[in-house]
């Protein structure tokens, strides 16, 4: 940010909100200098903790304050980056051009609940776990359970088109949104959701990653808290058989809440993960696949660092064991007791017909118990100089296996890859690839990391896939937007010009200037 724009910025902002809620302290600038983009974590491992600090951080409490802040930014030509909880994994909140970091978490009120229409309205800075908790204690659920539910906000979900673990039943965030309050890039406050003519603005602001405006409030569809959860595990010989079963199930009109099929390696990890002793509190959450990721990490490192002989042999052993295990499918229904019971019956018959082996409820329940565990395990990987990241792409059933093979091959050239299939729809499914790689040198680790993404996404796009299913674009995939959208990018650029004429909203993201 040019010094001229910076001078007096804090004083100007003090016209918009209380000085106690403006900071340019070193610790604040450091804390807001990155999100959870794994490429940034490689840097952290090498001591680079603040790759991209903002100049100022502000904590507005009302929509009016947000609008006033944006107007200050427009007047001074200073970038504004909306910040939810910084759990994004794409660098979407990195203030690469400096400027104002606008943290929304003080706007976290529960505004309204309509039990008849089954909608609820929240301010967007509310953290997921708090939001769900507020609904649950009133007898409802949003049905949105991203693995990051503890560390992400409603605004971030909307801005990045998030998906939860029960998306097959409740949909992704874009399926839930009913209306938004948005402060556009010119500081104007608008409410969407009431429109009957023209573009569906909900769907324009959803996914905009802070580049078009700040979402301050949202009304979302909710559901009654489920009466039952019927979980079950299945084993299939190969991913293709499991996928075929899921497809048939959904196309017959069944709507399980949870559908996850792990490929051979991921199944192996999932199994290992649940064999450990139970720890944590009161049996609610227990440790995740410590041993499993350890093995994987070592395996990956040995691939990356060829001279580590014994480890390389261990890795080969791992692959060998893995290829002999089948694929685990976890499937669960939730909702009305009578409906779910019937759905499960029909569904079970379908899965048996498709060649599935019924493993009973235990693996399903275990998965439910451990559903958020895996994320705790990344620390060790990074600490050892390796990296782990996930690539979530989607396509229609017709192209799914092709995309699976293509991405696995492409990324597998650089790192160790495994995958599970979650977020299934009647017309297609998303694939969640996890890849682990590494090098002891930062430059080399970053090079490998970039190669994984470059080759993986080209492969996905080439196989009629999307560039992202639910993590968004941010910085990491900005270079792929053109390839994903083709000439339609012209429309996105036009939107940007119209809604953010000063070009101050989260510049450099989504492949926009």
């Amino acid at each position: 940010m040019p010094p001229a724009a910076k001078a007096g910025l804090v004083d100007a902002l003090a016209q918009a909100l209380d000085r106690t809620r403006i900071s340019s302290a070193a610790c604040d600038r450091t804390a807001y200098a990155r999100d959870l983009w794994p490429r940034g974590l490689i840097g952290v491992a090498h001591g680079d903790v603040a790759p991209s600090p903002p100049d100022v951080v502000v904590w507005p409490e009302t929509t009016a304050e947000v609008a006033a802040i944006v107007k200050v930014a427009v007047a001074r030509g200073v970038p504004v980056v909306p910040f939810g909880a910084g759990s994004g994994v794409t660098g979407a909140t990195w203030p690469t051009h400096g400027g104002i970091m606008l943290d929304l978490k003080r706007m976290n009120r529960f505004v309204a609940l309509d039990g008849d229409a089954l909608t609820a309205t929240f301010e967007c800075g509310i953290v997921g776990e708090h939001l769900e908790h507020e609904l649950v204690r009133r007898g409802y659920t949003m049905g949105h359970f991203p693995s990051s539910i503890f560390c992400s906000t409603l605004g971030g979900w909307l801005a990045a088109r998030s998906a939860g673990q029960a998306s097959t039943r409740y949909g992704k965030i874009e399926d839930m949104v009913q209306g938004l309050e948005v402060v556009t890039g010119s500081g104007q406050v608008v409410r969407t959701g009431t429109s009957t003519v023209g573009p569906d603005w909900n769907q324009i602001f959803v996914g905009s990653e802070g580049t078009l405006g700040v979402i301050t409030e949202a009304t979302v569809r909710i559901a009654r808290a489920p009466e039952v959860q019927l979980m079950r595990g299945w084993e299939f010989a190969r991913p293709s058989a499991g996928l075929e079963a899921i497809r048939r199930l959904l196309q017959r009109g069944l709507r399980p809440a949870f559908v996850r099929l792990y490929d051979e390696i991921d199944t192996f990890i999932a199994h290992l993960g649940t064999s450990g002793p139970w720890r944590g509190r009161a049996g609610r959450r227990a440790p995740g696949p410590d041993g499993a990721l350890d093995e994987l990490r070592r395996a990956a490192l040995s691939l990356a660092i060829p001279h580590v002989g014994p480890l390389a042999r261990a890795a080969l052993g791992l692959f060998d064991r893995v290829s002999r295990s089948g694929c685990l499918l976890v499937l669960g229904y939730e909702g009305d007791r009578a409906l779910c019971t019937a759905e499960e019956q029909v569904g079970n018959a379908e899965l048996v017909r498709a060649g599935g082996r019924d493993l009973g409820p235990a693996p399903g329940l275990r998965w439910l118990e451990h559903r958020y565990d895996i994320s705790y395990k990344q620390s060790k990987v990074f600490h050892d100089g390796a990296f782990v990241d996930t690539m979530e792409v989607a396509t229609t059933w017709e192209h799914l296996l092709e995309m699976y093979e293509a991405v696995k091959r492409a990324v597998g050239r650089h790192a160790m890859v495994m995958a599970h299939f979650s977020h299934a729809y009647p017309e297609g499914c998303s694939i969640y690839f996890t890849f682990v790689g590494g090098s002891s040198s930062r430059r080399e680790a970053e090079r490998i990391y970039d190669a994984c993404w470059r080759d993986g996404l080209h492969a996905a796009l080439g196989a009629s896939g999307t560039v992202s299913h639910h993590h968004g674009i941010g910085l990491s995939k900005a270079g792929f937007m053109q390839e994903h959208h083709g000439e339609l990018m012209a429309m996105l650029r036009a939107l940007k010009r119209v809604l953010d004429p000063a070009g101050i909203m989260n510049p450099g993201k989504l492949g926009l200037p």
């Binding site: 959870l36 001591g47 903790v49 904590w59």
Partner: protein, 370 residues
């Protein structure tokens, strides 16, 4: 000093902030800088020498109530609160402690004889004994701010037939939690030794404050101080009387707030509930309860380092009681009682509505048995 926390610091440094939603301090301030993961990352960097020990950065170590809510959400699990307190000790050693805690070791020592004077002035002299089978040790918070509570404790104990418990007599009326929390580790060790010596005169100490109990049982051992005295938490002690309590009248419906130190540190979630259930027809649970309970803001010397935040935490905790329109809130820790009581008064003065009365377990027993 930080060596034992090496591994935990590494976990947090790369963690995707999974416990952030639990931290009452960062929830109150909504500041990314002080979520558990960031506080630990700063400590990690300070420890590794990648940041210098300067208040610019060490300040984040003080934005913690040492409440362990984050640990409930951690799979490893990392004990963030104590790690940050160890970080404070390192900061103090490096001359980068918190300005509001300057010379805290000195003021602490200076305060002890005053506490004793206060105790002597307000509590029945006859009850003090410098040597006994069992003694009651009310904790500094109660003596300094609520001597009436101590009197009530004695009355209830008498009614329960525990009149054999004497009052601890000595200068060491504080177990040293504030020193530990403020990061004055040398002073803490020295004080612990003094307390241990004083305690030798008693076989069993019933302690009115669960934070004291934790410090006595766990933190003393950590600094190499061994206690020969049996330490019993007051709630634990009272549990022994369930079924024997001479209940004269039931107490109206009430909420119960889990004190962090009783619950997450001592692991006693059911005890206070069982006692209360013998005294009231209806006990409400906060929706965040037991291991997920939200701190009242009183821990970690937060009221000194961030008074506004601490106050906001207490008020936030009360919102559910206000919403339910219930007028009694019970807890089992003198600090919680005080912080929540003050917040309730503030809320009532500001917003009107039902006045919430905050009671200790003893107060509830007192009402039920008189």
């Amino acid at each position: 000093m930080l060596k034992p926390f090496d591994r935990q610091l590494q976990y947090c440094a790369y963690c995707p902030k999974l416990c952030r939603c639990a931290c009452p301090v960062s929830n109150a301030e909504a500041r990314e800088t002080i979520i558990p993961q960031q506080k630990m990352q700063f400590l990690h960097l300070l420890h590794r020498g990648q940041l210098s020990w300067h208040h610019d950065f060490t300040q984040v170590l003080y934005a913690c109530a040492a409440c362990r809510a984050c640990t409930s959400y951690c799979k490893h699990p990392v004990d963030v609160g104590p790690a940050l307190l160890a970080g404070r000790a390192a900061a103090v050693a490096a001359g980068a402690g918190h300005p509001s805690l300057e010379d805290f070791d000195f003021t602490f020592r200076y305060r002890l004889p005053k506490l004793r004077e206060a105790a002597r002035a307000q509590l029945p002299k006859a009850r003090f004994s410098d040597e006994a089978e069992g003694a009651i040790y009310p904790g500094c918070e109660a003596i300094a701010t609520a001597p009436g509570d101590v009197l009530r404790t004695l009355a209830v104990l008498d009614r329960l037939g525990a009149d054999y418990l004497r009052l601890f007599d000595g200068d060491e009326l504080c177990a040293g939690y504030p020193l530990w929390a403020a990061g004055y580790s040398d002073a803490f060790r020295a004080h612990a030794e003094r307390v241990a010596r004083a305690f030798r005169r008693y076989r069993k100490i019933v302690c009115g404050c669960p934070a004291c109990v934790h410090v006595l049982r766990r933190r003393y051992a950590e600094v190499g101080v061994r206690l020969e005295t049996e330490i019993v938490d007051l709630t634990e002690f009272l549990e022994g009387f369930i079924g024997l309590i001479p209940v004269m009248q039931q107490v109206p419906e009430l909420f119960f707030h889990d004190p962090c130190y009783l619950g997450r540190f001592l692991g006693n979630f059911d005890g206070p509930r069982r006692v209360l259930d013998a005294l009231t027809p209806r006990r409400y649970e906060f929706s965040w309860n037991r291991g997920d309970s939200a701190c009242c803001g009183g821990g970690g010397v937060l009221p000194r380092t961030a008074p506004l935040t601490a106050a906001a935490m207490a008020e936030a905790r009360l919102s559910e009681v206000v919403e339910a329109g219930v007028s009694l809130l019970a807890t089992a820790c003198p600090t919680c009682k005080r912080r929540l009581g003050e917040a309730a008064a503030r809320l009532h003065a500001r917003d009107g509505g039902t006045a919430i009365e905050v009671l200790g377990l003893i107060d509830v027993l007192d009402r039920a048995t008189s």
